[in-house]
Amino acid sequence: MGKPVPMTIERPSIERPFEGLVGPLVTGSVLFALLLGMVFGWSLPAEAGDSAAEADWAAPPRALVAKTVDEVLGVLEMPDLDDAQRRAQIETIAFSVFDFSTTSKLVLARNWKKLSKPQRVEFVEEFKQYLSRNYGSRFERYEKAEVKVLNARVEPRRDVTVFTQVVGSQYDGITMNYRLRFRQEEWKVIDIVIEGVSMLANFRAQFAEVVSREGVDGLLEAMRSRNADALPAP
């Protein structure tokens, strides 16, 4: 223990009292704010403590979502594509990860049984085009964004939900959760839940309404004519 080192504090000469006040006020409130943050120790809720086997099961679908998100963002950031090319490329990616036949069944629910076999094939095809219209046109107004792929969770009967969140762009902070199912030896997306709204449930409500008013033929006709409409320019 040596002698305490003498400390000299140099006070800046204060010419105007106001100037002297601003600095401490700002630093003071910043420090105060930081202190608050530390005291209350905000943190996100701890992630679900998945057991090892559960994590193993959820890993491939999570990886698939991460890969797909990267691919889609990659296409969106390609500078030399026009809207049609961009849309075609995203369609290719999306069509390869979506299980349209499961989604079609789930979206029609009770009404699926009312469709004849050729109608089922047609519905799956129309639904595919319809989704492409609905989601494709949103990409045309793309602003630079990132997607954080968060944890994944095993759902009843081995489905997996992959939680993701958009960072940046006008959709900053929005949660998009993907529900995947392992079928025919492949992981495929069967639902997208945006901010708590399941796309599947929402389409089901709309389709049920059309079927109850106009029957399954009416629904097919409505989708056909909707898909035949030219998309207006964004």
């Binding site: 700002v26 409130s29 910043v30 105060f32 704010a33 930081l34 608050l36 943050g37 209350f40 905000w42 679900a48 998945d50 057991s51 090892a52 086997a53 559960e54 069509f95 390869s96 299980d99 499961t102 989604t103 069944k105 789930l106 699926w112 076999k117 089922r120 094939v121 799956v124 219209r133 609905n134 046109s137 949103r138 107004r141 969770r153 095993v154 759902e155 009843p156 489905d159 939900t161 529900r179 025919q184 492949e186 495929k188 069967i190 639902d191 839940v193 708590g196 709204v197 399941s198 599947l200 449930a201 929402n202 089901r204 409500a205 709309q206 309404e209 059309v210 989708m223 909707r226 207006p232």
Partner: protein, 302 residues
């Protein structure tokens, strides 16, 4: 381990879930265990019921067969709101979006966020969420000072999350069912619970009454116009592409309000609908033949 548990439990009926304690997080165990135990019965249990039961919270209300008994009246009000939007709000919002930069909208949003914070705080207290209430107080203190009276959101980058508790959500948290869907004139999609919630939320801004009423109208009005102008394309697209825009809005509203209640109860549900109802419908369909013939129908790779 839990995955092994699934197979085990599925194979023998009535077995209790063996892996529950192995789960790190209590809630996950609560969510999964009863579901797995009942997995060999045709009807899967909705995880939320069991979770809320064990947590001592009120059970989820039974599924209402028709969420919209007042559809005729609601469609009328909805039509009126659409006219008001298309002829008044949307043009104003488009013009507003044209003359104001985006960061300005952001500042308006932040400012309104601060004004509405007491509402959030009260509701977090009513939901017995101590940590959230502390965060709300933190946000108010930080954003009202360092954030230049709310124009900047300093708290979020600092790691103080923005909570959005509301009175409708609080009612749902304590077990009040949403009741029938209800479209309010000018305010849009709601329910009985949502309507009461709106009134309750309004009471959270009691302190604004010392301001002249027009000032409050301007502050809230500008926020609504800014919000609308940020969503011109989204709403356009949804209006144009949905097969039934009214049903789209109704379902989205009902799902969002249920999701908010789930969130308040700490239930991370994939979708607000019942899991078995929404995702396992296909098992009732006897259409293996469809899959065999069109096995690749859904996978047009390349």
């Amino acid at each position: 381990m839990a995955w092994v548990g699934v197979i085990e439990v599925e194979s023998k009926s009535g077995a209790h879930c063996p892996s529950a304690i192995a789960h790190g997080l209590l809630l996950v165990a609560l969510l999964l265990c009863p579901v797995l135990a009942g997995a060999d019965e045709a009807a899967l249990q909705w995880p939320e019921d069991s979770a809320t039961e064990v947590l001592g919270l009120p059970d989820r209300e039974p599924e209402i067969a028709n969420p919209d008994p007042w559809e005729k009246m609601n469609r009328g009000t909805f039509g009126f709101n659409e006219v008001a939007d298309v002829y008044v709000l949307e043009p104003v919002a488009r013009f507003w979006g044209f003359i104001t930069p985006h960061f300005f909208h952001k500042a308006i949003r932040n400012f309104n966020g601060l004004i509405l914070m007491p509402t959030v705080l009260f509701n977090d207290i009513l939901q017995l969420k101590g940590e959230h209430a502390m965060q709300d107080i933190g946000r108010i203190l930080v954003n009202a000072t360092v954030g230049l009276v709310g124009l900047l959101d300093v708290a979020t980058p600092m790691g103080i999350p923005e909570n959005d508790a509301g009175f409708g959500q609080t009612l749902g948290y304590w077990g009040v069912p949403p009741g029938p869907y209800l479209v309010l004139p000018l305010f849009g999609p709601s329910s009985i619970r949502g309507g009461i919630g709106r009134v309750g939320d309004g009471a959270g801004t009691f302190y604004l009454t010392w301001l002249p009423i027009w000032a409050t109208f301007i502050v809230r009005g500008v926020d609504i116009i800014s919000w609308r102008s940020d969503h011109v394309e989204d709403i356009d697209l949804t209006r144009r592409e949905s097969l039934d825009y009214y049903v789209f809005m109704r379902d989205a509203y009902m799902q969002i309000s249920q999701a908010r209640v789930n969130e308040a109860r700490g239930v991370v549900a994939t979708s607000p609908a019942s899991d078995a109802e929404l995702y396992f419908y296909d098992e009732e369909f006897d259409d293996e033949e469809y899959d065999d013939e069109n096995g690749q129908a859904g996978s047009d790779d390349d």
